[in-house]
Amino acid sequence: MNINRRQVLGGATALAGAATLGQPVFAQSNPLQVGFIYVGPVGDFGWSTMHDLGRKRLEEVMGAAVKTTVVESVAANDMERVATQLGRQGHRLIFTTSFSFFQPTMRVAPTLPNVFFESATGTQTAANVSLYNARFYEGRYVQGVIAARKSKSKTIGYIAAFPVPEVIHAINTVMRGAWSVDPAMKIRVIWVNAWFNPGREADAARALIDQGCDVICQHTDSPAPLQLANERGVFGFGQASDMTRFAPKAHLTSSVNSWGDYYVERAKAVIAGTWKPGDVWGGLNSGMFKLAPFTNMTPEEASEAQRIADAISTGRLHPFDGPIVRADGSTVVPAGGRLTDDQIRAQNYFYRGIEVALPS
């Protein structure tokens, strides 16, 4: 049985958090009320779970100085209402933790000028809106290298959520990493049009494996694809949290998100009155995410993967160095150049060699 106290308490805290919504809040200047809006359930064991761990870290460090509220499984079109309600209840700092919340955040922020918003991913800041995100593509490059070593069919299967730049540049980077080992590597992509739908994610994994993919990458939040890879005897990577336990025989590594330190830093800034809109995009060296211990790999494979991760972390290797050529053959950046952060964030094309339909 794999239940621990933290998870039990986690469920209880989430409930308590949800229960405080709707109750009248009395004018009270301290502690600082911090709101968290999640796109999925706290228990998705992925993206939203990790934001919630960050929230718990915030509570742990700040103690009585903060009081947090969680609203989970919020649909993008309901985000404005939830944020408005939190704002009216006296929350001064609100973390909106999804790219799909970014536009609603930009709409609601001007109506609540006394509230500071922190949007996990987005494209621009505003007077009271900050952006924060991690350079997950750095982990994707490492995944590509590992996949190329592990794959016998030379085909990676990629389960993608939505055709947004974050996902598109991740696919490009996986292939960049794979091609660095073996230029013959191919990829198949299935868009499931959901961040979290375990059944459909598993179906997509089944389809990809049936089509000959033997390493599965996922850009969705549930452990279903990895678990299925385990069942079918192929390899896979965990998303957002260390998913080793779901696939003891298939798991290679996971990208493990860690937001706690950032949350502490931002809450402190609000309390000190020094909060300014910022745009943080932390890499492997920032601690915003790390790679879970390598499993099911030979010592040589693991040390190679570690070497690549270190090279990215220290800046010796950059996944977006030129030459970069689009699928249609046009050059974006010649050899010697490098994509800017804005160009990476706006990437809406596949590289040459990736033969996948890109929904417009």
Partner: protein, 305 residues
Amino acid sequence: MTMFEAILLTIITASTPLLIAAIGQLVVERSGVLNLGMEGMMIMGAACGFAAAILSGNSYIGVLAAIAAGMGMSMIFAVLTLGLAANQVASGLALSIFGLGLSGVIGAPFVGARRDTMARLDLPVLSDLPVIGKALFGQDPFVYASFALVIGVWWFLTRTKPGLILRACGESHASAHALGYPVLKIRLFAILFGGACAGLAGAYLSLVYTPFWSPGMTAGRGWIALAIVVFASWLPWRAMAGAYLFGGITILQLHAQGAGVKIPSQAMAALPYLVTIIALVIIMSRRGGQQSAPASLGVPFVPDR
């Protein structure tokens, strides 16, 4: 295993929860009750089934717990709509929302726990049949249960006297009552059967399909099951066809994407819904636009009035 067999196997896996839930709902609606609480009953089945399987270490105990959870939820609905003659649509919607919330509470301690998927049960001889053998007879016990449910419900509704009485309650509860049949009791049994099927479908999700618990993991399948009943114009065989059509197109569009077919993925994802609606329209128009719904569907019955 050939590609064709592999696809067929996946289609059956994807369609089975829809089929089990739809068959249960079909019986409920045939008795004249519209229970929109499918999604809530299904996810309660998924949560309780997984929790019981983890605690007991036995998937079959999990299945029983899931069935009990589905029936418990449907009992709430029965008390509201039969006992208090509450509005069925409102009660059903409330049940769905309630189930989604309550399942989150029950499942919270089990987030992150994992179980191996339930073992397949190869039927001797049959599973060695070429092409369809592995797909149809080398499956998990749920798939056989779904086949048995379709045959059983078809036989019950069309070939037995109790089935005829149940349908009479759905077509005209006043007439059934006048003939001396206990309409409310019959509807109660139908609702409980529907709850049991929904719970079973939920258990399939959390014990076989994706063997872990996660809040909201039914992801709308209860609603699709409701739609399939309408698509099937309340006939068991058509419900089976509907579930497999929906599941089939869902899987085929994933395969088409994987194979690099140049159609926008959003359009592909909409395809199962589109095809099901078109099929529904065709069936309806072939019946001359006539509604084939049970005449008393959704109408509360109060014997004394």
